[in-house]
Structures are given as C-alpha cells and as structure tokens.
C-alpha cells in the first residue's frame, strides 16, 4: 500500500501531541459501567451533570441518538388513565411558560397555547405519509375531528363572514370549510420557513462514506474490533488467551495482524506490512491515531469530534477499555494493560483501511479517502422547500385553538403562529408532560406524608415499647420488610442506615479467593477483614470441596474440546436428560437436590471475623490495608451509626443489624441486585462486623465515654437478608450469651414471619403469581424465581424506586410506601450542628440518585441507555453481555429489570429546615450540582412543624397539600391485595397500639377513598394485630401464640 506509506514518512511531524487530551475529553462520554460482577448503579448521564436535567437529557439524546423522555404516546396514555391530571398540566405550563401577550391578536397567550397543545396530542405524519394525507384525503378541506361543537360553530361563522364566492345560493357547510381551510393552508404555507440540507455533516468519515456510497465501513471494522477487544479483555472464557496481551492492545494487535499471510479480507490488504513498519519504528498509539486521522483526511480542527464519534460508535467496548485503564482493581479476574488510546488507534487504523477500500470500490483503484470531499453530496443539495410538517401542525392547531382565522391574512401573524407551533415541538411537549407526570407523583408523596402526619401526631397512635430493634439498609426494597415487621410485631422498631453500616472494609470470606471492597464506590477502604475458620473445627470442609471443584471445572472445560469432549459426551450426555427434565419441570426441587449433592448436608463451618487490631499495630502488608479495626476506630464506627439513626436513645434487648444482597440464577446482572452501599456486594459481612463491634466490651466502654451507654442487657446480632428469596441468615449465633437466647429466638421468629409477608407483597408484582396467592405459598414462589434457569425476572430490584425520605422513622412508621422509598433514619434532635445530616446527604444523595437515574434512563430508552431484552443476551469475557454473537457490549439495565418502573426523578424529602439545607447545599458543590440542576427533587420537611418546602429554581417554596384523600387500613395486605400496578399511599394501623375493633371494615379518615376489596388475604392475615399478651414472654419454649406461627413450617 504505497499510498499509505508516503502519507506519513518519518520526516512528517507526527502530530500526536494533542491526541491524549482529545481522547480524554471523548472518554467522558463513554458508559461508566464496570464489569458485571461489580455492578454499581450510577447516573447514566454522569457526563452531563453540569447541565440542568432537561437540557442534559436533550443534548445527550443528540449525542447518543437516544430518547430524552418517555414517548408522547406513553404520556397520552397517562393523561387518558388519569395518571396525569389536567391540573398537573395547567400547573406545569403556568410555571414553565411565560404568559403575557397573545400570540396573535385575539388568539391564545403562549401559556394557553401550550396548555391546549398538550391536551391535543396527535401524530404529525412526516414525508411521504404527509404527502399522502394532503393529496389523497380530505384533510385540507375538512375540519379536523378534534373540534368540539362550539369551536365548529365559531369556525363556520368565521367562514361565512369571510366568504368570497357568490352569496346565492347560500354556501353549504362543506364549501365554507373548504374555502376557509384552503385560505388558511395557503397563508401558513407562504409564511413557512424553508429548509435546506439536513444540518452539519458528521465528522466521521464512515458516516460520510455511508451517505455517499451506501457502503457501511463499520460492517467491516466492527466485527473484527469486537472480536479483538473481547479476546483482549477476556477474563477466562476462552481456552486460549490472546498472545502477548500483557503488552497492551495495540501491541497484541500488531503482532497478530502484522504477520505475513494475513486474513484474506480484501479490505485488510496491505495491513500486515503497514503494521510491521509501525512496530519497527516503535510508533506510539498517539502517533498511530494521528497517522490514521490523516489517512482518513480528517481536517485537524475536527480531530476531537472525529475521535469522539469514532469511540461512541462502539461505546460499550470503548467504555470497558477505559474501565480497565482507570479501575483495574474492578477487573473480575485479571486486569490487562488496557488503554483507551490503544483501542482508538486500532479502530482508526481499521477505519482507514475500510474507508480506502470503500472508496476504491466506488471510484476505482486509485481513489483515496480525500476524494470524498470532491464528490457531490448523497444526491446533490436537496432543493429548499417549506417545512410541510410544521405547516400541517400549525394548520390543525389553528382550527383547534381559539383564534380568528382572519388574523393570518397578515404574514407577520402567520409567522408568529408558526413560530409558536415550532416552539412547542415534540421534545418540549414531552418535557412538559414529564414534568406534569412527576408533579402528580410528588403531590402524591407529599400529601401522603402530611396526611399521615396528622394521624401519627394525634394522641391515638401510640408505639409500644420496643422489644427488638432492627437496622436495615436504606434500600427501598427493605421498606416492605420493615413495615411488615412493625405491623406484625408492633414492639419492633426499625432503622435505616446505609447498608455497609459505616464499616468500609475490604473483605475476604472463607470461601472467597480474593478480597473485595464492601463499601460505597466513592470510599477507598483502609481496612482488611478476613473471615477465618473458628479454632475448633478448622478447615473441615476445605478438602473434599476442592476436589469436587476441580472435577467440575475439568468437566466444563473438557466438554468443549475434541477428544475429552467426545468421551464426556458419550459418558455423561444421557445423564443430562435428567438435568434438563429437572431444570425445566421442577426447578426448585431440582436445585435443592443438586445443592445437597454439591455441598452435602453438613452445617457450614463455624467462622469468625478477624476484626480487631491492636491499637498500636500499624504494620503494612504491602497493600496499604490495615488488618482489622482498632478499638477507637470501632468506637467511631458504632458511635456514628447510633447518633445518626437515633438508635442510641434507647436500646431493646436485641438489636438486629441486617445487611442484604441477592442471589439468582439465569441472571448476568445478578450483582445489580446486590447492595449499592457496599459497592454492588452483599452486606452480610458488614452487618456481622458492626454487630461484633457493638458487642465488644472495649467498644462499649469507649462509647460510654462519648455519652452513649449501651446497656448490659442489649445484644447485637448481625444478619443477612436475601432480597431475592427473602431468606434470613444470622451470624455468630454461637456467641450469643445464654440470657439473650429467648429474645433472639423471638426476634428471629417474627423476622421470619415478616419475611413471608414481605415476600407475599413482592409477589403481587410478578405476573407469574396469581393475585390470590395464599400467604404460605409466597416464600416458595419467590424462591423458585431465584433458582429457575428459565426465569428472567428473579426479582424486580430497585424498579419503582421514586422517593427518599431522610428523617425519623416515627414519622413514616405505619405508612404504606409500596416499596418505593429509600428510608434513611436521621435524628434531627441529636444533630445540633448539622454535621450528621451533611454526611448523610453527601452519601445517600448521590447513591440514591444514581440508582434512580439509571432506572430512569434504562426505562426511557431500553435500547439506547439500557441493554434491551435479556432473552438473547450472551455473556462475553465474564465482563458483560452482548446481543447475540457479536454486538457492542450492552450497558445499562435489561428491560426485564425495569419494566414496571415509573421514570420520575428522585424525590428527596429531608427532615430539616430549608435554611439548614440551603447552607449544606452552599457548602458542597457536588451535591448542589445535583439539586440545583434538578437531577434530584429536594423537599425540606420541618422537624417541628409539618411545613414542607419544595426546592424550585434555586430556592425553597412552601408547599400546600392539595389531595385530601388518604386511605387507612389495618394491615398493608388489605391495601395491596388484588392489585398489580402502582398503588398510592395508605396508613396501616397495625403498627401502633390502637387498632380497629375486630370485625370492622377498614375506614378512611378522609372520605372519598375506600381501599379496594381486601379479598381472601384479609382472612389469611388477621386484621387484628398480635396482642402483646399473646406474644411469648422472655422464656424460651413458650407456645408460639402468633397467628402466623404456621409459617415456621414452611422450610
């Protein structure tokens, strides 16, 4: 390829100086998703956070070719179903559109125009469809069907007034219509702007070549690039690793494709010599990039844009390269020396060859890419023509809106009308409708909070003294468990605290082969905690399991090879008929049997956390991690939690610390269901560590010095909640002193029962579960979701999350929040300075917003931001998923995870005065950016009065409740029974001392809404709460008197 050779001789200055910066700038737009094992929710549009939300989504939609909001059709559905009410639209338009003078004399004001426009959502046909409509139908001569009778009469009157034909005989309605509309159309068409071309050309050569020649060079380059990237980043699927990948992507590529006798692809001709030359001359990646851009004849000022567009063309893979470059610690198995610029160099080199190949095919053997600039555009410049779509839209709207047609005789008015129509284009309409949609949700939450407050504030609702306390993660999935626990056992108190419980550690479990951080992603852990076998029965299980592991590995690998594969197939193939039958027909039973075969029936080995470090010990182990916590450090961790949550005010005999995680089969995105506060890990070990710290005698002594006295008759127990099958695991039970055993047993029992209730509530969302699912079948149902290979919806994860309430639980206790609210316990009384709140908001704000926004975007554009349907997903390199056998790496969430979500921005309600929040925002730019730019909706909820202030355009405005309807039920189950969709909010009385007398039907304190019929469920769950006397007291072995006792039989 002599042409290529001459272009960049050694004499030419290599021009690679600015490349690194350009790459760095473009890289910000790439998806920021780590390998799937460590899935952490984050704002998909992180790179746009400096912009206001609605601007950001629109400009991102331009860059990525995605959707900014839900579709207009979807919103139309919400308007029809009443999810968006007329009042919401009015309120939004009033706030968003300045409304002064009428658009045209006698016509609507801009505000009125928008409001009417949003009520008339119709599809404007484009191109050929519009031509057909205008030429072949009577659209231009007949009033549109959206007219109401009054407007019709009005228009006919105008037509009669302006009639220009002969007055005798009296013109018919059809003729009047035809003339009026024809005049209107002609006037509007004359005033319409003319359009030429289709905007700025793409900076990428591939797009220009595609437009001109019809050849898509990406069809040549991408398959190869995907193969290479996957081979380079592979974490252990391929039997053979890529040779020499330790020295970087570009190097490995040059070695593979620089060998003579290269692939026979015609477009790669000459590549091997060129690669050899570059390798001999030791070109850097930057220099190669510059060379390729020159080959592609991209003018130097456009390099940045070209690099950006090139990287975005396969952004999943480019993003993963960047992940490996920046966060090698997140690599599941082995971090290779990945560099984004290496990847870009390879892509551009291939692009250059493909572009030249396409040009040669189009123009002949001597063509170069630069010749493209000398060719005319795709089909010459299109002739300028009026924008008919706009004219049509304005034409229909002029009929609908209260405007006198005669005003359009003046060209200026027609232009003003067209401008108004253009200003309320589809994006603007969707934006306003989105705001109305969010408004309805916001009003619902705030009204429910204040109505609930009126009930709770009353003297009738008394919380009984606590017999147990439980600290959960703030995760909105724990909301239902907490609520059911309190309803079922009103002597329980619950708290919400970020699921790593302040124990930001790197952890290695006894089974794990490598340590991983269990803390929020923004925190760098400084402590290593290791799980060790307890001295008594050390390593009993280690040996046989290892042997089985090796065997299993040998089978997996061997079955794919030639000789071993044949033997294995013939020997074990028939046995797989049993596997198939079991997995397909009896997934739950089969899984249980295979687990038993795999792990035996013996109990898990007894282990301990190596938690404590002598205060003086600071020895380094080379990894910068301290081995365990010193006592003062532990005191700090425990004290912060107790003060923030308000748990330190009083203690019950048992305090459960409950971490959570999720385990499921058939789910590459398994880790996305784990705890966000532990960085996509499982929070059990954190809970266990926290409980151990709080039980530590030295720590308690230290706490006493700080003013928090944990009494002797309080014991902390760490636990782990699997949110997928709603099972609980408890840690270090053998350490519980005898005097606590009965209390712990009771706590475990009520917790198990609450799990059943919570599982039952979750089941209402699964269409696989009948709406009248009996209570005792709920656990089995959720468990079968966990272990079924055929189940693409193991759990719905964070779907439906919409709000976050930071404040005392006493203010939300007994409030049915439909698993939609993150609940952060915060005790404003113990926080005079506001430091605790600052720390809470700095942690919870971005984390909850990240979760919420990722769901927003994956729902709004499942193909562009999410990773589409799960059904054809194919795991590649143990890193991510592709659609089918070779596609871009798909980032974001699968449709099956988000399908029931409501895309609204997080409503963050904080129990604090507006002044305090303003001060916090002013002091912390990162948080302020999220709030001021509207990525979060912030509400200040006064701790003393019930006043609420909504943060709007930089300041807090007082909020007045508008909805006076708030249902009241005994138990949550009565409220959700028989429903699959989103529910409103309700007050559940069972969480308090006072309940309705047995037999009375649920009431509403405000008239107007009676909860839907309570079906059989209200019988399954007694509407009376367990009376305190019926609960077994202190001594173990008492007859369990709870009406839920039967659930214990459910294994």
């Amino acid at each position: 390829m002599s042409h290529l050779d001459t272009a960049a001789g050694p004499a030419v200055e290599d021009g690679s100086a600015g490349i690194a910066d350009l790459v760095e700038r473009a890289a910000k737009l790439l998806p920021d998703q780590a390998p799937l094992q460590t899935f952490v929710h984050h704002n998909t549009l992180h790179a746009f956070e400096h912009l206001p939300f609605d601007e950001a989504v629109v400009s991102a939609a331009r860059v990525f070719g995605t959707e900014p909001f839900q579709s207009e059709a979807a919103f139309q559905g919400f308007v029809d179903s009443g999810r968006i009410r007329p009042g919401d639209i009015e309120a939004v338009v009033e706030a968003e559109v300045s409304s002064e003078t009428p658009l045209v004399p006698g016509g609507p004001t801009p505000g009125r125009f928008h409001a009417i426009r949003l009520r008339h959502l119709f599809e404007v046909p484009r191109g050929a469809a519009l031509s057909w409509l205008l030429l072949e139908t009577d659209q231009r001569t007949r009033f549109t069907e959206r007219l109401d009778a009054q407007r019709r009469v009005e228009l006919l009157a105008q037509a009669r007034r302006d009639w220009t034909g002969s007055a005798v005989p009296e013109p018919g309605a059809r003729a009047l219509q035809a003339q009026l509309l024809d005049t209107l159309w002609n006037r509007l068409e004359k005033a319409a702007p003319h359009l030429r071309g289709t905007g700025a050309p793409s900076p990428r050569r591939r797009d220009q070549i595609l437009a001109t020649t019809g050849t898509d060079t990406d069809e040549l380059v991408h398959p190869l690039l995907i193969r290479l990237s996957a081979a380079f980043l592979d974490q252990g699927i391929a039997y053979w690793p890529m040779p020499e990948r330790g020295q970087g992507f570009l190097h490995a590529f040059r070695r593979l494709y620089g060998q003579p006798g290269g692939p026979p692809d015609r477009f790669l001709r000459g590549l091997d010599t060129e690669l050899r030359r570059q390798e001999t001359e030791a070109w850097t990646a930057e220099r190669t990039v510059a060379w390729a851009l020159r080959e592609l004849a991209v003018p130097e000022p456009e390099w940045g844009a070209a690099i950006e567009a090139t990287l975005l063309s396969l952004r999943g893979w480019a993003g993963m390269m960047r992940q490996f470059e920046h966060r090698p610690d997140r690599a599941p198995v082995e971090a290779h020396a990945a560099r984004l610029v290496d990847y870009l160099a390879v892509q551009l080199v291939l692009d250059a060859y493909a572009a030249r190949y396409a040009m040669v095919g189009y123009l002949g053997p001597h063509a170069t890419v630069a010749d493209l600039d000398r060719l005319p555009g795709p089909s010459g410049e299109p002739p300028a023509r009026p924008v008919l779509e706009l004219v049509y839209e304005a034409f229909v709207l002029a009929q609908v809106m209260p405007v006198d047609m005669a005003v359009f005789a003046e060209a200026g008015h027609a232009t003003a009308w067209l401008e108004a129509v253009a200003s309320c284009d589809e994006t603007e309409r969707r934006r306003l409708l989105h705001l109305a949609y969010e408004r309805r949700h916001r009003v619902g939450v705030l009204d429910a909070l204040s109505a609930h407050q009126q009930i709770v504030g009353g003297a009738t609702q008394v919380t009984p003294p606590a017999r147990m306390q439980a600290v959960f993660c703030i995760d909105e999935r724990e909301e239902s468990l907490r609520r059911h626990l309190e309803e079922h056992f009103p002597q329980a108190e619950t708290y919400g605290y970020a699921g790593f419980f302040g124990v930001a550690m790197t952890y290695r479990g006894i089974d794990e082969i490598r340590a991983r951080p269990l803390c929020p992603v923004v925190v760098t852990p400084q402590h290593l905690v290791v799980e060790e076998p307890a001295a008594t029965r050390a390593g009993r299980h280690a040996v046989p399991r290892r042997g089985r592991g090796g065997l299993s590995r040998g089978f997996t690998v061997g079955s794919r090879t030639l000789a071993r594969g044949s033997v294995i197939t013939l020997g074990l193939g028939f046995a797989h008929v049993v596997t198939l039958v079991g997995r397909c027909l009896f997934p739950r039973l089969f899984h249980r049997w295979s687990q038993r075969l795999d792990h035996g029936t013996g109990a898990a080995p007894v282990t301990r956390l190596a938690l404590e470090r002598a205060a003086t010990a600071t020895e380094e182990h080379g990894d910068g991690l301290l081995r365990g916590y010193s006592v003062p450090e532990m005191v700090g961790v425990v004290s912060a939690a107790l003060r923030t949550t308000g748990l330190g005010r009083r203690f019950s005999p048992v305090v459960l610390i409950v971490g959570h995680g999720s385990s499921s089969l058939n789910n590459p995105h398994e880790s996305a269901h784990d705890c966000g506060a532990t960085g996509g890990g499982r929070g059990g070990p954190n809970a266990r560590a926290f409980a151990a710290m709080a039980n530590h005698a030295g720590v308690r002594e230290g706490l006493r010095d700080l003013g928090t006295d944990i009494p002797k008759d309080t014991w902390f127990v760490g636990a782990y909640h699997n949110t997928c099958d709603d099972s609980m695991t408890y840690y270090d039970e053998d350490l519980i002193p005898e005097r606590f055993l009965s209390s712990v047993e009771e706590a475990k029992r009520v917790m198990a029962e609450a799990c059943v209730l919570a599982a039952h509530e979750r089941c209402r969302r699964f269409e696989s579960a009948p709406l009248d699912l009996p209570l005792d079948a709920a656990l089995a149902h959720v468990e079968s979701h966990t272990v079924d290979l055929g189940q693409p919806r193991p759990e719905y994860g964070h779907a439906t999350n919409a709000a976050c309430i930071v404040g005392r639980r006493s203010r939300t206790r007994g409030l049915f929040l439909d698993r939609r609210a993150f609940l952060v316990s915060y005790d404003p009384e113990g926080d005079a300075s506001g430091d605790l709140l600052t720390n809470l908001l700095l942690a919870a704000g971005p984390v909850c917003a990240g979760i919420n926004l990722e769901y927003y975007f994956s729902y709004v554009d499942p193909a562009g931001y999410g990773c589409g349907t799960k059904l054809p997903h194919n795991i590649v390199g143990l890193l991510g998923v592709m659609d089918g056998h070779a596609s871009d790496l798909r980032t974001g969430l699968p449709w099956q995870m988000v399908e029931i979500h409501e895309p609204v921005r997080l409503l963050l309600v904080v129990e604090a005065e507006p002044e305090r929040l303003t001060a916090i925002l002013d002091a912390h730019a990162g948080l302020n950016r999220l709030v001021a730019n509207g990525w979060i909706q912030l509400v200040a909820w006064s701790p003393v009065s019930d006043a609420m202030h909504v943060f709007t355009r930089g300041r807090f405005l007082p909020y007045t409740p508008e909805d006076a309807v708030f249902p009241m039920v005994n138990r949550s189950a009565q409220f959700y029974a028989g429903n699959r969709g989103h529910l409103g909010f309700a007050h559940a009385m069972a969480a308090f001392e006072t309940v309705l007398p047995e037999g009375t039907s649920p009431e509403t304190i405000f008239p107007g809404t009676v909860p839907s019929e309570t079906a059989e469920l209200s019988e399954a769950i007694p509407s009376t709460r367990v009376s305190p006397e019926a609960v077994p007291s202190g001594t173990a072995g008492n007859e369990p008197a709870s009406p839920m006792a039967h659930v214990q039989e459910v294994p």
């Binding site: 294995i568 058939n666 055929g790």
Partner: protein
C-alpha cells in the same frame, strides 16, 4: 388390530405437533389474542403426546420383536414407472431420535413459558417451535426421501425464522438470512439425491433392512434400496453429504452456527445446539444403505467430519463469548459424529448424537448463569481457576502460536473467503459479464457512449442496459452484506 394401533401411534408422532401448529395458526390468522398459558400448554401437550406415542410404539415393537413399522399416508403422485409414496417408518433409528426431539421440544416449551413470559413474540415462538418439531419428526420418521425433504425444508425455514426472532434489530435478520441461504444452497443436494435415486433405483422409499439389499451385515434399521452401480452410489451419496453439511454446519459452511445464537436462549439451546445440527448426521445414517456402496463417499464423509472437528475445536478455543464457545463445541462433536457415521459405527454415532443433544442443550440453557457459576467454581476450587491452553505455550513455537491463534480468532478465514472470493467472485463475474454486455450494446448501437462503469450509480440510468448494470451491482452488494461477518 395391533398394526392399526401402531400405525396410528406412528402417525401421531408427527401429527400432534402439526395439529398444535395448525390450531395456533388458525387463531393467529383470526387475530385473536390467546393467553400465554393456553399457547404453551397446547404445544407442550402436543410434544408430550408425541413423545408418549413414540415410547409406546417403541415398547410395543420391543415386546413384539418387530424391527420396523411403516405406515403409508398415500401416494403423492405416480407416473407409471415411478411413484412417490408418503411413507413413515418407525425403527430403531427413527424412534429414539423421535423421542429425543419430542422430549427436548416439550421441555423447551415448558422452559420458555417462564423465559418468554411477557415477550411480544410469544405466540410466534411457540408456533415456530411446533412447526420445527413437526418438521424434525417428519425427517426422523420419513420412509421416503421426498418426505424427508419436506421435513428438511420445514426445519430449515423455522430455524431461520427463529434466528431472526428479534426482527426489529438488523443483525438477527441478517444472520437468519445467512443461515437460510446456506440451507438453501445445500438443500439442492437433497433434491438432487432424490432425483438420482429415483433414476437409479426407481424408488425412493425404504425397504426392510433385513432384506439386506446391498448393505453388508445387519444394519438394524430400514434402508433405501441401494443403487447397483458404485458410480450411482457416488452420485447420490455426494449430494447427500452436501445436504447434510449445511444443516450440520460442517466446514466450510459452518459460519452460520455461531451467528444463529441471536434468538432467545431456549431456541438456541434446542435447535442450533442440539436438534437442528443433528439432522445432518441423521440423514446420512438413514441413507447409509445408498452411499455405503461408494468408498469415495465414505472417505469424503470421514474427511469432512474430521476436518470440521479439528477446525471447530481450534476455533472454539479462541472464542470469548459463551454461546459461540458452545456453538463451536457443538460443531466439534457433530464433526466427530459425522466421522463415526462415515466409518460405519452407526450405533455409536446414534448414541453420540442423542447424548450430545442432551448435554449441549443443558449447557446452553445454563449459559446466562456463567458469571454466577464461575464465581462458585472459584469458591469450590479455593483458588483462581488455572489458566487453560498452557500446553500450547510449551508445544508450539511462538510464531506458529500467533498464527494459530489468529486462525482461530478469524474462524479459519472461511467467512472472508466465502464473502470476498466465492460470493464476491460471483458478483465480480456478473459485473464483468455485464460490462461485456455494455460493450456489445455500444458496438450495436453506435452514437451512444456507455457510461463509465464506476459512474453507473451516480448518474441516472437512461438506458435499460445501465439499469441492469445498477441492479446487478445492487444485488451483488446485498448478497455480500448478507454473507458478512457478524
């Protein structure tokens, strides 16, 4: 009496899936929405009954010591000298395969009930599943080669449609088309074999195996009447091999198999991992009596199988996504099975076929759990999983290593060869013929200068010749793209 029962059972193996398909087709035609459960239950029930029939029939035959049951559905047409019978045959080759097909399809039916829940194409999937099952049962049980062809086509068409299941995206459609084109190109072989078999022997229906017509020893199952001359056997055997190469994804036509993994996981598991690719070896097993007279065919079969096995095992080792890895693993084993067929190890081949189908389906169904399983495997072994392929480092010199790796990564370059040299070559040939045509036209109609070749697309085509030029090029393009990688 028992004959009638047996014949009924035999018919019902094909009949039930076909009825299920027809039932749903009628509903779909009427545009009625059926609830998911009704759809899947109908299909699963059909396959369940088909399997029960097959098992019952097998038991009756075992009990009665029969080796073969046939049922004639009638005669398609006859022309004096040769007749085309629609004949089904149950014997120890077809019944196990029929049971396997019904079992796997039924299981996939149950599995997909959960897997495809709420998927818009739910009904379509089950219709295709039923039709595919019916097609494969037809191939399995056909006692006449024409009937085999009917089932063969049904299976091929439904396979292609299932690959293109997500037809709103471009790639699945392209890959479905690619599989379909490969199938069509190879189906010619089966058609040619039918014609030549008729020509050579006057009949294309099976005869009793025990009659021992041309087959040495006891083949154990029904076979076709063998042609008397080796030449005829060769001429029939070779097209049969060609036909089975396409379905079985053998070298050099196997590029469609990894691409077939575009559909929902369950369909990939059962069709491309298990049943669909098994039809190739099955056809050769069924027609063994025909080609066994020609040693050259035997050698060719073994060669194709062995080459495929070696190629696929090499290529499979560099694949980095789980479904491609499993696709090449399937290809490897099918290659081995083909070699076994060629070597005359027919019972081994049959057992291998069935065992492989079960194993591979199970593996593909489990593929979305790979990350989960990897984690557990690490825990179970207690250390990072050892790297594989180390012996390559030891045994192969560095230069060859890279060459071998690139061969594997590029999937043996077959795709590029097919695209750029076979299909592309054809396109270029057409273009050359066309420019010759151009020159002719210029010669004949003086006064008009033909457009320069490369400008044909930018200039408006004024004459019919130029229009043909543009059209021909367009066609070349499309085929080229259809054959393209990825």
């Amino acid at each position: 009496m028992s004959d009638t029962v047996q014949q009924f059972l035999l018919l019902s193996i094909v009949g039930f899936p076909l009825c299920a398909f027809a039932l749903m087709a009628v509903f779909a035609w009427q545009g009625r929405r059926r609830v998911e459960r009704a759809v899947s239950t109908a299909v699963v029930l059909a396959f369940g009954l088909a399997m029960a029939s097959a098992i019952a029939l097998a038991c009756m035959m075992l009990g009665g010591g029969q080796r073969m049951v046939t049922v004639s559905v009638g005669t398609w047409f006859g022309t004096g000298e040769s007749e085309f019978h629609l004949l089904l045959v149950g014997d120890r080759l077809s019944l196990p395969f029929a049971v396997l097909t019904a079992l796997l399809s039924g299981l996939i039916g149950v599995f997909s009930q959960r897997y495809l829940h709420k998927e818009p194409g739910y009904l379509r999937f089950y219709m295709l599943l039923a039709l595919f099952g019916a097609g494969v049962e037809l191939v399995a049980l056909a006692g006449a080669l024409e009937l085999t062809f009917v089932g063969w086509e049904l299976a091929g068409l439904t396979s292609a449609l299932l690959i293109a299941f997500f037809h709103e995206r471009r790639k699945p459609v392209e890959h479905g088309l690619r599989a379909f084109l490969t199938y069509r190109a190879c189906d010619v072989g089966l058609l040619a074999a039918v014609v030549w078999l008729h020509h050579a022997t006057g009949s294309s229906t099976v005869t009793g195996a025990l009659a021992g017509t041309g087959v040495q020893g006891d083949s154990g199952w029904a076979g076709f009447q063998a042609p008397t001359s080796t030449w005829d056997a060769f001429l029939i055997g070779l097209p049969l091999l060609w036909a089975s190469m396409g379905k079985a994804a053998q070298v050099p036509l196997g590029g469609w198999l990894p691409r077939a993994m575009e559909g929902p996981t369950p369909s990939s598991a059962v069709f491309y991992g298990a049943i669909s690719v098994s039809l190739g070896p099955y056809l050769l097993l069924r027609t063994e009596s025909v080609w066994s007279g020609a040693p050259a065919v035997r050698i060719a079969i073994v060669a194709v199988g062995a080459l495929t096995a070696v190629h696929a095992t090499l290529v499979g080792r560099a694949q980095t996504d789980i479904k491609s890895t499993l696709a090449y693993a399937s290809m490897t084993q099918i290659g081995v099975i083909l070699a076994e067929v060629g070597l005359g190890l027919r019972y081994l081949a049959l057992a291998h076929l069935i065992a492989h189908a079960a194993l591979r389906s199970a593996q593909i169904l489990r593929s979305p759990s790979l990350i989960h399983d990897h984690h557990h495997l690490e825990q179970a072994t207690g250390r990072p999983l050892p790297p594989t392929g180390r012996y390559l480092d030891r045994l192969v010199p560095a230069g060859t290593q890279a060459w071998l790796y690139r061969y594997a990564l590029e999937r043996g370059y077959f795709d590029a060869w097919l695209r750029d040299h076979v299909v592309g070559g054809l396109a270029r040939l057409v273009r050359r013929a066309e420019s010759l045509d151009d020159r002719w036209a210029r010669l004949l109609s003086t006064g008009w200068t033909p457009l320069p070749h490369t400008g044909a697309r930018t200039e408006p085509a004024g004459l019919s010749v130029a229009a043909v030029t543009a059209e021909g090029e367009g066609r070349g393009e499309t085929t080229g793209r259809g054959e393209q990688e990825s």
